[in-house]
Symmetry: C2
Subunit: 722 residues, 2 copies
């Protein structure tokens, strides 16, 4: 077996060709003609609603209802089959009973339809028979190169091209936010809600079971779409983790992608699997993937559109310093609380700005942050303040909080805010109240100033903006490659795999790590007390004795670890006692012998690990040893490969980081040694996809100048013929 470098980026080009290129999706979103297979006049039927929707939105191309039993449908000529149309069909919407869909798809192929939207349900989500049926549909489509959405979906809407190829009744105004949703029902609710509050949307796709086209295809398409400047995505699962990472990072580099990923808890994931037939990925891996690829994660449904709205309408901030302007103390404090809790900074304006503010505001006003223009403020006080602070260098974004007081004139204020804002920094508002502010709210939505019902939600939106802006200017990711000895690793892994042993024990794991330049204490395997003493004499006392068995993972639980053995007699006694005890406690374990190792110096115990996520591949873990991982769950996860900066972020991401820096009068530990170790694990995991799991537990690290070392390690390999 020859080993080749396999990074998460390699081999993508070939894979991508199997997918629709962005331009190729053009005919799906802006079709010249649409057929509806399963069209009907029956009241309340989806096959009627889709035809009506296309009529209502005034789709400008021909609409071809297909129904063998009818001559016309809703005033349109009906066709007995897709083949009978005799004209080019860009999109065929399929709404026939599930069993008929494979043959309908076959007919679409023969009729050279470009795209199909399979609205019909009763496939993967309905159990094994449905899955089988879905596979038949895929096979038919692949045969003729028809790409399709669904099955079990709502359809596609494009507000910019008069397309409503869905059974959603409400269509919002045209805007710049494109939406993808794994739930059709949610999509209906989103469209309806956007319509009622006047939120402009661009393209809306419900992709259902995503048997063919999936989230990645749409993200790619939206990256190049001039009508889309933000993507809001509702996801229950991600189908192709590696492509998602690549494409998401690509699009996030040009426009924001906000994702609501549900199924984060056990209960949620259970509901997901019973619902969509898709297993929800581990939430940790999703966090890591989103962090890597610059995807903004929304915590809940409201946040999804709160954030999307801010991104769609406002320039990105250059930093995380928010200025709060308010006419009411209380809501100002709410905003300040939320800002501070989320890690934003609240600086007062520059002194020169404050001097000017004092001239335009009454003496009782506060000119720090929040800036309180006082309850009797007419619009001019807000406007004078905005004029002064919108160029202030202490400020990256502005939140205007408004309660409807006697002098407030909310609509007039909204208009003047819009007229005054120079758009150098993002402007968000929280007009609070009901009918007094409704006109202002509508106006703000129209002109693209994001307004929120509470200061807290506005602050969260600015936080999302500043996080994303920071990601956008991140330094280029340069993954260091360390010189390593792959031949040695190959040898160990080949031996293990030939023997079909998945568990890599301490001895072999250390052998592999040594080849990746880890410092591993000298040690030898001893099969007899005599060999153990010989080994100890060679190494020098004191030594440690550890059981070596592929069947025993938690050595100390079986009496399989003895430390600080100072002479030959102690080594001999320890060896005999260990074999006696281990054989008694684990009679079936295969015992190779005992590993004799130099007694290491003391230091801080940390745990370095790697696990391979089914979606996103190798994921690295870092945590402080012992209770910090086991009790406090104080760990960070990053996807491999990591950079030096990311390795250091993994350390800083733990709550216990201060301990590494030397809390309580202790000297700081060698942080670079840990960061370097994480990078080398990253390289190992990328180089050897056979390694499914890896644990260095503990990795001992002392002060700068001492040598950090692997005290214990184990790995798990993939099954050869799984």
């Amino acid at each position: 077996m020859k080993m080749e470098t396999t990074s998460s980026q390699s081999g993508q080009a070939a894979a991508n060709e199997a997918h629709a290129s962005p331009k190729a999706l053009a005919a799906l979103f802006t079709p010249q003609s649409i057929a509806i297979i399963g069209a009907t006049e029956k009241e309340g039927a989806v096959g009627r609603t889709v035809v009506e929707n296309l009529q209502i939105i005034q789709f400008h191309g021909p609409i071809y209802p297909v129904n063998p039993k009818r001559d016309t449908i809703l005033g349109l000529k009906a066709y007995p089959s897709i083949g009978a149309i005799g004209q080019p069909v860009d999109v065929a919407v399929i709404i026939t009973p599930p069993k008929t869909v494979p043959s309908v798809m076959s007919e679409c192929v023969n009729a050279r339809v470009k795209f199909a939207i399979v609205i019909s349900a009763g496939f993967k989500e309905a159990g094994p028979a449905g899955l089988e049926l879905e596979q038949q549909v895929v096979n038919e489509a692949r045969r003729g190169g028809v790409r399709f959405i669904g099955p079990n979906c709502l359809g596609v809407v494009n507000m910019h091209a008069n397309v409503n190829a869905s059974f959603a009744p409400s269509i919002p105004p045209a805007g710049k936010i494109s939406v993808i949703s794994q739930s059709g029902a949610l999509c209906v609710a989103i469209l309806d809600w956007a319509t009622s509050c006047g939120l402009g949307l661009s393209k809306v796709v419900s992709f259902g079971n995503k048997a063919d086209l999936n989230e990645v295809d749409f993200l790619r398409a939206f990256a190049e779409d001039p009508d889309t400047n933000v993507v809001a995505a509702y996801l229950e699962s991600i189908t192709e983790g590696d492509r998602f990472l690549e494409v998401a990072e690509e699009i996030a580099s040009v426009k924001p992608v906000v994702v609501l990923k549900v199924g984060v808890t056990q209960a949620g994931a259970k509901a997901a699997s019973s619902h969509t037939g898709s297993l929800a990925g581990a939430d940790m891996a999703y966090w890591a993937a989103f962090k890597r690829s610059g995807v903004i994660r929304a915590e809940d449904f409201e946040a999804l559109f709160d954030y999307a709205l801010a991104f769609a309408t406002q320039p990105l901030p250059k930093g995380n310093r928010l200025a709060i302007v308010t006419n009411a103390g209380g809501p100002g404090i709410m905003a300040a609380d939320a800002a501070e809790l989320s890690g934003l900074r609240l600086l007062p304006p520059k002194d020169s700005t404050r001097d000017k503010l004092r001239q335009v505001l009454p003496p009782t006003a506060a000119t720090g942050n929040p800036i309180d223009v006082i309850g009797d403020a007419e619009p001019d006080r807000y406007i004078n303040t905005l004029k002064l602070i919108q160029d202030d260098e202490n400020i990256d974004g502005i939140l205007v909080v408004v309660t409807p007081q006697n002098m407030t004139a909310p609509l007039e204020l909204a208009k003047q805010l819009h007229a005054t804002h120079n758009r150098k920094r993002p402007l968000l508002t929280a007009f609070m109240g009901g009918k007094e502010i409704i006109q202002a709210k509508d106006f703000l939505m129209q002109v693209g100033i994001p307004n929120y019902p509470s200061p807290t939600r506005a602050v969260a939106a600015f936080k999302a903006m500043s996080d994303y802006a920071a990601w956008r200017v991140r330094p280029p990711r340069v993954v260091t490659r360390f010189p390593v000895n792959r031949r040695r690793v190959d040898r160990v892994i080949q031996w293990q795999m030939r023997s079909d042993i998945q568990q890599v024990g301490e001895v072999e794991a250390k052998e592999i790590l040594r080849a990746y330049d880890f410092n591993v204490l000298d040690g030898f395997l001893a099969r007899t007390p005599g060999e153990a003493v010989d080994a100890a004499e060679r190494i020098g006392y004191p030594v440690v004795l550890k059981i070596s068995s592929p069947d025993i993972i938690h050595k100390s639980d079986f009496g399989g670890v003895r430390i600080n053995l100072a002479n030959a007699e102690q080594v001999r006694d320890a060896f005999d006692l260990m074999m006696l005890r281990v054989q008694r406690r684990a009679p079936k374990a295969f015992i190779r012998g005992a590993f004799v190792e130099k007694m290491g110096s003391k230091g801080r115990e940390v745990i370095l690990g790697m696990t391979r996520d089914p979606q996103f591949g190798p994921m690295l873990m870092f945590g402080l040893g012992g209770i910090f991982v086991e009790v406090m769950k104080d760990v960070t996860f990053y996807l491999a490969p990591i950079t030096a900066t990311e390795a250091m972020q993994m350390l800083k991401g733990t709550r216990s980081y201060a301990l590494l820096q030397g809390a309580r009068g202790q000297a700081p530990v060698d942080l670079d040694a840990i960061a370097s170790a994480l990078q080398r694990i990253s390289q190992l995991a990328t180089d050897y996809p056979q390694i499914m799991e890896l644990d260095i537990n503990p990795f001992i690290v002392g002060e700068v100048g001492t040598e950090a070392y692997v005290a214990d390690a184990r790995m798990t390999l993939a099954k050869l013929h799984a």
Copy 2:
């Protein structure tokens, strides 16, 4: 100085007499007549708005505008002064310039006005001169027994008695939620918002600077008010912590109190102090106070009314098991995620219920939890499900999630839900969308089924309900009193206070703790090496030597701790060396000598502490020693006096609790010993209000059967003439 038991409950009766009794506030909320001092016809003036508001709401008693320059105002006879009215006045609204308010208040006193509402601003919030003016107003009012709201407030609204003695323009329908707000501006926004969404309110009070009547007075009034079944409060500070605790617990025992307390962060608190002139209390103390008194804390503005609405309309649940019914998988998962994250339980219905559900739902429906009635559900499927689960013993509350699909018929569904719900368990809904659900939403508001724009917010409301319900059935709080030797404590404290020494050093602190039955290792103060050796011989080797000085708190930083001294020579050497080093490092410190103590057994280090919050009095702290407190900030706070149950909750409230239970193969420590120690500190802090701070750091606790002991302790006393 004679020491008497001083619990937080004692001495309240006398204090309360100074405050308005609940019934006495009747004339404020349902006045027979109202005078407006500072009434005017000037457009936009508050003095005009208040008169108009009373006219618009059709106040049924006489309205007396007071303005010496006018004969009539807005068609009403105007009076030159309050005294000139010649009729009984229940409420006088004062809107005159701040400087005139003391004399106006004096006139109110002379005219035997019962209550005043001082809307005028320019008092405490405007600086020292304003504070002085405010005090004059208070003095005038006290002189004649006039109770008043404000200054710097919006006024009072009572929807049930046609009273709008405020300048708020929007008046919502009459309902059962009473609102108190420290921010007038927020109050306006609340009234406006409630009006526009049809949320019924009862009494709304903006109390501004609360120079006289404050939140506690209103809570007491609302406790007995049949028109109030929930209180929603917006607070920036609490004026009388001990009364608040008592009254809040009293009212929370009969009806829920939801509080949005802002100023939780440094930035927020700074804004609070500059805004209202009131210092925001430490947030930890507020958390502890709310937990103790059963107050439900809302995390943000939307949560305040989300929770209030649920409480106002639905029965309390008996537990925390939520059933989710949905017609869409995605929003069902959102609800499940939110429920699990917040600690609610999601059980499937009983088997017998599930069998019946299968009969009324299609085969593809899910009958676990969430129950998915599938997108094509007409109302009957929801209704059949509700009928079956609303008596299920596995379920404490029901959340119905609805997306507007083809067959949904949201309004019809809402009507049938209302008709079907037997009100044995709370029913909450999340109808998602816009115009498709607007009628359903309005209907649900009218009939009192709380509806939320997202499943997440509905789940949070149910969580608040189940937490409050659990508090309502809490066992009675019985505070154990331990037999102690107060005479010994008196002696130490009297000596300290006579010497005007606030810092109580280790020796004296241990003396006090010993009197409260703490196990303290034997030890003696030695002033010479010879005395130290004598002491060591009496105690028995090995011993510990610690510097004794009121000026040195962190002993080990000054070389002031030596442990494990095994013989006379070591003790003598250690003593000399310690004196040498300490004198060199802290030349100005007063050195009493060295404390010779038995070397204690090993065990887990924990920290027990007490600090006295300015609002809420003694607050106990618990945390695991060392890094857990210092780095991980893993501590819990409870207000004294605590019960045995609460002491145990303090332990369980830390993230590191598992360590005490014996994680990683270690034996569990003696939890009761810690709980008992916390209770005895609680008693000490209650008995001796002179003790401002106390730290037992560390308290060493081993396995059950060993004796936990105080290894080090210190206290701080109040200044005698502070």
